[in-house]
Amino acid sequence: MGNPILIAENLSIAFGGVTALDSINLSIGEGEILCLAGENGSGKSTFVKIVSGVYAPSAGSVAIDGGRVDSQGPRAAISAGVQVIYQDLSLFDHLSVAENIAMNRMMHDGSKLVKRSTMRTIAAEQLARVGVELPLDDRVSTLSVANKQLVAIARALSMDARILFMDEPTTALTTNEVKRLLKIVLELKSRGLSIVFISHKLDEVFAIADRITIFRDGHKVGDFTAAELDEESLSFHMTGRRVSYARYHRQIDDETPLLQVQGLGRTGNYQDVTFDLRNGDILGLTGLLGAGRTELALSLFGLNAPDSGRILIGGKPVSIRSPLQAMEHGIALVPEDRKTQGLFGAQSIRNNVSSNVIDSLLGRTRLIDRKAEQALAVATVHEMNVNNKNVDTLVQNLSGGNQQKVVIGKWIARHPTIFILDSPTVGIDIGSKQEIYDRIHALAASGIGVIVISDEPEEIIANCNRVLVMHEGAVLDRFEEADLRAPEFKDRLATIISDPEAHVKHATAALTTITPGDQR
């Protein structure tokens, strides 16, 4: 570690009586890449927001090169050399690339007027530092996510940043884009920039971090070198407990497929996907961003009409054009984005639970039977073990894990025969995760077919008895229960997910009879 550039001492902050950060001590050296790891709600983002001047700490201090920067607002932090690239990138979609990059610097220079030539010069210079070329006059909204990411980096560099925070920078990137980004990050480090990298993807963390600092519940657990940690110990430090999830084994003897997907395709999303789902199956659908998993799930739920292939349920071809039709076929979908697709935030747990079963709650008068509704909600809350048993509680006041339990519970209330869960445990605590896994296992054991979409190898291994790996819209590989039981399978799966290109080459070399659809 070089000279410490940022020193945080006894940093604490509380919101409405709840402590979000408690006496954090942290220092970051010049030219160091520090990884900040922790579960959702562990205080990582809060820490970043204090350092960047968005929040004022209730106690403690942050100093950069010896000068205090906390409690003085974003401008002071920026002057001191702090730059943050937020997960949403914080760009201005309606402004040009050049302007997005240069605005920060021009504001900081105190310019009152805008000179286009200056703006373009600044932008071109910064893009050159990142080593890319982008059309300066195009609106940012027209760029791909990866290019937006680069604009955000260029903007951050324009301020002669000393220390750069990157909050989950790779979540929306494809494999190649991630590689390019990591290369740029390493290059910036070699020029003396300190980087704080917040990521939940372990392979990335291990690939670039000099040091890993772990937060849990607002406390700092400790500093580690990449060599000191492995996946298991990292997870232990993050969650505070050693968890080993029970694995699922299919016990049903019935081989009749419940759902058959045959050569299904949707232009631009995925193509030639074929698989069967029997009752008692938990099929894992995995792959990175852009693999087409979610798009496929939406097609099965009537929200993304496929343009080739067919879907059979109980052996009969079906056409699913709307969620209502999907539900009539016994399909349920727990959507990927809980907040915007799954929950009615400011409505009660009761109204959330009854939202998709309201028809069955209508009495003879066609009015909502409020007693039945209440009973259903109470039953669901108990079955799913939601921590707040008062069904009048607004779901927005629940934790992520309990919110997800409500969403899953509302679909279980419909007694689906085919249950699709898209990224069911993103952003939820470890306890809830365990309970949700148990529910999934029980559901499948009761004889329904489950599809779990996830990019976490651990989640796939714990839950699935079959796995389909997708890559750029095609099925890259598939594994049966026997494969999954192999001792090193988890690592193998992790490698395939994080580097599907290599697997493509490997697979093509090994198999000469591979079907065209599998290669793309």
Partner: protein
């Protein structure tokens, strides 16, 4: 590399909405001209310029608020309140000077706009609701304190009457005497000034940034309050300016008129391509939007249709334009699996 300062103006790519509006305007003019060649006269042009000036100034105020991501329905109330306050003050003090009139009116407008900004920012309230409340409150306060007495040409300050009658160029023809209104240079000045602020100053770019994404803007260290204060105060000042022009043009001071036309003017700006979601909107689009409204208002007679057809025409054009714009967006969203609305 030396570039002309106007290069940006001439080389800019027109937005789809601007092209679309331009096509409507040209098509409409051709139809009207074919039907009735009398339409092509200096008289019609001068008439439209005179009656459109005030509205144009208000529309610019609307534009800048929309760009900042807000919506303001208090601007007509502010125009009347500032104009009437100014007139009352002139009558009370016996100062009959057009510059004084403008000064008072603009200052009052600016203050009322600043109050809007203060409430919106301090209590983090929806702009539509706040300006709805302040519009009522401002107008009611004026009526309570200053009354609602109208002043006909003879009773109002003479300087306003004179100013309204001032022409830059006068053309005498056998059908009468037509003058090019003195309001024109004021409108042009407002347009140029607003263009300069919006596109050539950091403040203007910050207005776009705040409208584009307020959270990002504040992360960048943009002072949200100062930006909003400017937006609403500027819009208020323009309303104040318009108040005096309005009374001068009509040569009649009626403090209960004008209020109620705000939605029509917002519609004109929206048809010009400004989005209610902020960050988008152009001055050219706004001009074209106002031109469409003014065209229908003053030229349907040439088609043999009474003025009662104005609203029908404008409403239809507005709905069709919006329909085309949003239906495309809908198809795009469906394709990209964006589950926005309905």
């Amino acid at each position: 590399m030396k570039t002309s300062p106007f290069r940006a103006v001439f080389n800019r790519r027109s937005t789809a909405m601007e092209k679309y509006l331009l096509a409507i305007i040209i098509g409409y003019i051709v139809i009207v001209a074919l039907k009735n060649p009398l339409f092509f006269s200096v008289e019609t042009l001068f008439d439209m310029l005179r009656s459109g000036s005030g509205v144009m100034i208000l529309a610019i105020g609307v534009l800048i608020v929309l760009v900042s991501g807000g919506i303001d329905v208090s601007f007509t109330a502010i125009a009347v309140v500032s104009g009437y306050t100014s007139v009352k003050l002139m009558l009370a003090l016996g100062i009959d000077n057009i510059l004084f009139a403008f000064m008072v009116s603009i200052v009052v407008g600016c203050l009322l706009g600043a109050i809007n900004a203060l409430i919106i920012y301090r209590f983090n309230l929806p702009t539509l609701i706040v300006t709805l409340g302040t519009a009522s409150a401002y107008h009611g306060l004026m009526a309570t304190v200053l009354g609602t007495k109208s002043f006909p040409t003879g009773a109002m300050p003479q300087s306003l009457v004179n100013f309204g009658s001032t022409d830059l160029i006068v053309i005498n023809s056998d059908t009468g005497r037509y003058g090019l209104t003195v309001f024109l240079p004021i409108v042009i000045a407002v347009l140029v000034l607003t263009w300069f602020i919006l596109y050539r100053t950091m403040l203007g770019r910050q207005v776009f940034a705040v409208g584009s994404n307020e959270e990002s803007a504040s992360r960048l260290g943009i002072n949200i309050f100062r930006t909003k204060l400017f937006v609403y105060a500027y819009s208020g000042a323009l309303s104040g300016l318009m108040g005096i022009i309005y009374f001068s043009e009509l040569k009649y001071v009626n403090p209960v008129s004008l209020v109620g036309t705000e939605l029509m003017i917002i519609a004109a700006v929206v048809i010009g391509g400004a989005k209610l979601t902020g960050g988008e909107g152009t001055i050219l689009g706004t001009i074209l939007g106002i031109v469409v409204v003014q065209l229908f208002q003053s030229t349907l007679v040439f088609l043999g249709l009474g003025s009662s057809w104005n609203d029908l025409f404008f409403g239809a054009v507005l709905l069709i334009s919006l329909g085309v714009m949003y239906y495309r967006q809908r198809i795009q969203d469906r394709k990209n699996l964006v589950f926005a609305t309905a």
